[in-house]
Amino acid sequence: MGGVDQGWLDRNLAVLARRLPALANKLAALEVPHTHVVAAAASGEPILIVRGVALENRFDPDAGARAWANEQTERLERFGAQSAIVVGMALGYHIEGLLKRWGGRIVVWEPDLYVIKSAISARDLQRVLERIEIVTEEEARGGEGGFGRALVCPHPPSILAQGERLRRLVGRLQSAPALAGPRLKVLVVSPMYGGSWEMAGYCASALGSLGHDARLLDMSRFWGAFRDIEIFGARKAARGRLDRLFADFLARGALASVEAWEPAVVLAMAQAPLTRQVLAEMGHLGAVRAMWFVEDHRHFDYWRDLAPELDYVFTIQREECGEAFRAVSDAVWHYLPCAADPAVHRPLDLSAEERERYGSDFSFVGAGYRNRRLAFAAFADCDFRIWGSDWEGAEAMRPFLQEGGRRVDTATAVRVFNATKVNLNLHSSTYHDGVDPRGDFVNPRTFEIAACGGFQVVDERKELPPLLEPGREVVTFSSVREMRELGIYYLERPEDRRELAMRARKAVLARHTYRHRMGELLGEILARDFERLASRGRGNTVQEMRPLVDGKLGKFMDRLAPDLPFTLDAVVASLHRREGPLSDEEAIFLFLHQFDELYLKDYRQ
């Protein structure tokens, strides 16, 4: 490495030592590797080259920085930002340019300490360091507060040099609600039935908790009508046509919702009744179209038809799945594993009666797929219970089947996870006898049991280790025999079970909630479509409006969720859950909402 001026380094470090002593100490001791080279531009000024990528203009670094700073200043002013979060420090030319043009708060986010060391070694940055804040975290924690209304300003050469890591950071930052980025209207479209129906609700609620204006389009209301198509007694071909007509009707309904509500993002869950044509029309209406395909892509192929009209596809499988999507669509593909909702999937203080009702040594919650029917025979001599549907014909399992083989609701499942000593979790397969030796994705049950504080033994999955650590957070098995042996082993070791379960729950709460997933999902979208979505405007949250009020209204607002959008719809919706006499503040909001409904709704649309 060249370009070290010990005088500048000492002076710069002195400023840093005053403001960020921990960072200064770290930097002082840091040796910059050869991947980071300070060279001279044609103009003679130093520039930084990281892994062959120049972070400044090779001819005139000031000119490049000026152009960037002008563009960012315009964005910041248009957005009415209080803070700029500059991702990428380089040698700081662009930050100097921004400081000259814009008077707001500047936070520089640079996870690569070598870049910072290079910068303070190569240039006199004392004035810059006096005015900026520096964050070196690798990840946006999602709880970045105190930046006020902030806009993320990525430094493109830095992102080019650092690749995926920094690009993802930009997305995560942009989707962090505390940064007061764009609050998006997101329409979550559920399927009529199936596992992803519940997930749609969790997603909508997570998006809301992230401060976005999320609305769930709950298609399950049509499930009864869809099922009742059978009363026509149609033959197979005619029934197929009727089913398609019905699905098309629902898709048109979703389109009407998009027309009326104008969401920025439409998030379709797997099996959501949308058609390619309707997705295309949603695109024409300006909505970003995303799908979270929470299924095994090998089992279904309807996604092939929809994918060309999607902008983003999120899947719970990696590699092969991504390739399959890329082969038929230009949509951005991203891996997004399942999760749990801690508000629903949580430890319960069960009564003795509930423990009796829902508890057993071993239990399984789920549908009766082929491999499960065969594998669970291994527990025939145990205190074993099966909760779930589609077990018809599995005679050997009949003694263990609970509630007549009805589909269990979430509340029951959560009680079972809590009450069971060893939860068995065997991923489904229609063609294996027991464990799928090449199983990849991780099912929601894995995260749900963990979030409940339940202990589980789960079959080995390729994608599991980075999510939950086998042996430390969950116990894995590779065969039915191993499942039984491990089950019985841990049944006799309650302390070990408790330890593992506690660690698994901690891991889920820290990394695998729907809130995390939705943050990541929007991060991906915003990393590419930020400008388009930000231009759709942004409302305020209760938290942001709170400083403007005092007295009784202030107290009223303190009772609302801080990240609730400060809109009449959202405030009044929160009142519907209350009981007892209305306060004046509540009644006035109700009045304003009725006024809005009566006179303004049509005007607004």
Partner: protein
């Protein structure tokens, strides 16, 4: 020591015409509650008209336009809107009103009224915990009739009056214009080409909705006809939005017409109408202004406008309403073929105008007999002071005419004292002609009979529920079972109301009554519910009798229901068992 004046608040956030229709209640309150102080809360943009309402002590203007703009902007402006409403509420609370009358039937005003915490609130309001109620039986009746307009019984003004416990007296509407406004009106007329002494007929061109507007070519034909047959000039009036229509009409009529559209203030409009021999108009604000100025009105009612609901509230006006089966239509429909407007021709209107101006109502009735496509009404007041529309000419009564007449008798008897019912039935026979009435309304009798039976059953179940709830250790299962039966009966009653629309107003009143039930305790709730069933049974049986049903013996029921209402509790269980 001086007595503190009774303070009354009237809330009316509707338009110009509706505010004028509030004038009789203000007049009536001053008469019935001497010394009272009346404040009228009106929307700022329509409040100008209130300045001319005599007897009004104070106008409180609420600025909904600015509030709307603030809500649309959101964020900090939403807080501004909140603070504005709080100031309004604080202002009004500090007045210490003892009576509040809400004449704007909307959820919005219901919440508003609930916020005011006035002891005696009538009309749409809200319970402490946020549920809408409609306080006062006449207000509930008005709300019921809005949903069943074919059987609309009374004029809006009469509902307003009865909600304030004022007996209608047929005094019309009230508006006072200043000398200055009067002079301004004459000046505007002169500037438009009017010569003093020249007789004028005003024509109001527009209406709030296009379905209520007469086609422009008809106005042109009418203007020419008036000029040719009566030798009078026409004055085109209307609001800002009618200017283009007025300009075109003026162009076609030439010297026959004076165009005053958008040229006057509200008060000057009153002055202009005062100068005119008559006003030809749809169901509009100027129609009510003409009534207040004692200028005869020839009203053309199209689309959803109903002569019975909002016709010109004074003696001797003429209303022409299309005879088409779908008229009047519902307020919420958007008619794509409003051919009802074509049924009334310019020649008919000109003829009606002439006969009205000459006071020849008998001749008008003869003419009306020939106009098969139009029903012609003369406005008048009945012996009790209620507004009524008298159908002119030899025209067959429709089923709804008969039912309306029966309701007219029944509601007054029910809401103002039940002793009148027997006499009311006799009067109905005389007024409609019993043979025809029975024939016309025959189809409805089944529905009313069914409603009586169901209401009796509901009464019995509610009494049993009250009895169970009153026990020291009531059975939850039994209470649930009875509750389910009551719910099933309510569903059946709703079905009857759907099958026989003539019964729907009764069901609607019953529903509103149920909505108004308050409290958490099961026993009093069940007793109050039993009273509602008793009320429904009594009303349905009265309707059946009024419409000609003689075989069923409802008298006993009526009597026992009344007793039940008076005593609150008593023979419930025994009666319940008998009916079951």
């Amino acid at each position: 020591m001086s007595r503190v004046a009774e303070k009354i608040l009237i809330v009316n956030l509707t338009r110009f015409g509706d505010l004028l229709q509030t004038s009789p209640v203000i007049e009536g309150l001053k008469r019935s509650r001497p010394g009272c102080e009346i404040t009228l809360l009106a929307e700022k943009s329509f409040a100008e008209v209130c300045e001319g309402i005599p007897a009004l002590d104070r106008i409180y203007r609420i600025d909904l336009d600015t509030l709307g703009a603030e809500l649309l902007e959101g964020g900090a402006k939403l807080l501004d809107g909140f603070n504005y409403v709080r100031r309004v509420i604080d202002d009004l609370r500090s007045e210490g009103f003892s009576l509040g009358l809400n004449y704007s039937s909307s959820k919005m005003t219901a919440v508003f009224m609930g916020l005011l915490r006035i002891g005696d609130l009538r009309g749409w309001t809200m319970t402490e915990d946020g549920f809408r109620i409609i306080a006062h039986p006449w207000s509930r009746l008005f709300a019921s009739m809005c949903l069943n307009r074919r059987f609309a019984v009374y004029n809006l003004v009469d509902y307003y009056l009865r909600m304030a416990d004022i007996q209608p007296w047929g005094g019309g509407l009230y508006y006072r214009i200043s000398d200055e406004a009067r002079a301004g009106a004459r000046r505007v007329l002169r500037e438009a080409g009017w010569r003093e002494g020249e007789k004028l007929v005003a024509i109001q061109l527009g209406a709030s909705r296009s379905a209520r507007c007469w086609p422009q070519r008809s106005f042109v034909e009418l203007g020419r006809e008036i000029s040719a047959s009566l030798g009078m000039r026409v004055v085109l009036i209307g609001g800002r939005l009618d200017r283009e229509l007025a300009a075109r009409t003026h162009l076609e009529l030439g010297g026959v017409a004076l165009n005053l559209c958008g040229a006057t203030s509200i008060a000057e409009l009153g002055g202009v109408l005062e100068q005119c021999e008559a006003l030809i108009t749809g169901d509009t604000g100027p129609m009510h202004m003409a009534v207040a100025m004692k200028t005869p009105v020839i009203a053309l009612f199209f689309g959803p406008a109903s002569a019975f609901d909002t016709g010109p509230y004074s003696e001797g006006n003429v209303v022409l309403q299309s005879e088409v089966a779908c008229a009047p239509c519902d307020h919420n429909v958007n008619c794509l073929r409003p051919f009802c407007r074509e049924e009334i021709t310019a020649a008919m209107v000109a003829r009606a105008l002439r006969l009205r101006l000459e006071g020849r109502f008998d001749d008008l009735a003869r003419e009306a007999s020939r106009w098969r496509s139009v029903r012609v009404f003369r406005t008048t007041f009945d012996r009790q002071g209620f507004y009524r529309c008298e159908l002119l000419g030899d025209r067959p009564a429709r089923e709804e005419d008969v039912v309306r007449e029966a309701y007219r008798r029944m509601w007054v008897a029910e809401l103002d004292g039940e002793g009148e019912l027997q006499g009311a039935a006799r009067r109905l026979d005389r007024s409609i002609g019993s043979a025809e009435a029975k024939k016309k309304a025959g189809g409805c009798l089944w529905g009313f009979g069914q409603m009586v039976s169901l209401a009796q059953e509901g009464y019995a179940q509610a009494c049993l529920l009250a009895g169970e709830a009153a026990k020291r250790d009531p059975s939850v299962l039994r209470c649930e079972e009875l509750g389910e039966r009551i719910e099933a009966i309510d569903n059946e009653i709703a079905k009857i109301a759907g099958i026989v629309p003539a019964t729907a107003p009764l069901w609607q009143m019953f529903r509103f009554g149920k909505e108004n039930l308050e409290g958490e305790e099961l026993e009093p709730l069940a007793r109050a519910t039993s009273c509602l069933y008793a009320e429904l049974a009594r009303r349905a049986s009265a309707m059946a009798r009024l419409l000609g049903e003689e075989k069923r013996q409802f008298a006993t029921w009526t009597q026992s229901g009344a007793e039940e209402r008076r005593t609150g509790r008593g023979r419930e269980e025994r009666e319940a068992q008998e009916w079951l």
